[in-house]
Symmetry: C2
Subunit: 219 residues, 2 copies
Amino acid sequence: MPKSKISRPQIIQVSLKTLANCQSLDQFSMRKVATTLQIDASTIYWYFESKQAILQAMADEIAAQISFPDANLDWKTQLTQLFNNLFDVYTTHPHTAELMIETIPSSEVRLALMNHIIGILVDAGFSETQGSAAMSTIDFFLTGLVIDLSKERQFRTEINDKQAAYLHEQVTQIHQITHDEHLVHMQNSVKSRNSESAKQQFEAGLKLILKGLVADKEG
Amino acid sequence: MPKSKISRPQIIQVSLKTLANCQSLDQFSMRKVATTLQIDASTIYWYFESKQAILQAMADEIAAQISFPDANLDWKTQLTQLFNNLFDVYTTHPHTAELMIETIPSSEVRLALMNHIIGILVDAGFSETQGSAAMSTIDFFLTGLVIDLSKERQFRTEINDKQAAYLHEQVTQIHQITHDEHLVHMQNSVKSRNSESAKQQFEAGLKLILKGLVADKEG
DNA sequence: ACCTGAACACCGTTCAAGT
DNA sequence: ACCTGAACACCGTTCAAGT
């Protein structure tokens, strides 16, 4: 057993892998990380002062993967590319949107990322306040969407894997009620939601917000 | 001690009060609810089959508080009123946005609410797909914003109440890095975020999305 | 029908003790 | 300097047992 020495970066990597194997962020635990590292849970506390500190480090690691689009491009395509990039990173690494929310954006990577997004908008002619508000709007939308997707998948796998009879009831109830109460719009909504991919859904929303920004500029 | 009989509605009410006294949704526990009800935690399982079932009931209770605006109004004012109403309910009852995300919208109240929102847009001339997408976009934005606000307040009170030296460090780091790295846009963002209320922030984002919808209609 | 108590399998965190 | 083990104060959930 070549028990390689433990290190901070190693713990972060293993933590990210552990998180990826969890069904939700709160199933992620120090004890699980410790088990795969073949160390006692308390050992981690020599490298990180708390679970929160690990989450911060994990969030920074993910944020570092976001690349900035070519600054010569149109501001709209720049934003589209950057947020599509964010969407992709969030969906390839499960629960990272939750990670971002549970965590304070105090690192250089995360602050620089936000600064860059606002910068794109300011360079396009928007005020600092407008740029800041627009970034938040898109970011909250993206985060809300990805977290919702994540929860939905969690419910689905819980229904399949374990018993979870209760959750299954809830889902069938949706169809019953929408039918019995003649909630026509909800019936259509379920259909269109199934035919469209999550990415398409995100792109549609982003396009809507960008259109609002353009209208803001002209008006 | 007039030990009044336990009932499902009573448990739901006490649960909502208990949640309101928590700093986050995952601090909410069956054992806390049981303590205030002066019963054993296991007793709750006679009335609810799981914690998830209680969360569902709590979410429905909150959703029932949302009132529909006058259908004769302009679709834009209808949406504005309804989502402002949602924002107010979410902020007056802490952690209810999290509650909605952690929970399946399987009840009549919640499905009817969504159906109504799409209906406003369809009546305004949008397609079912457009209406459904627009509702999601606004809802995810609202949810993301409120959850973020909630987390921020949680961090703030943890810094004040307990030790939480680590969290305090993170916050001071934000200012240090934005200054040292000359992240001008972030500096302005922090300023404008402090001068504007959360409600103003929400209204700005909502206005942006509505403008996008108008542009969609005209284009 | 309603409620309890003990138990199980989990958490994060601390700290004296080991090497 | 690095790591462990036991302990503490928590979780959700189950189930035999009580009334």
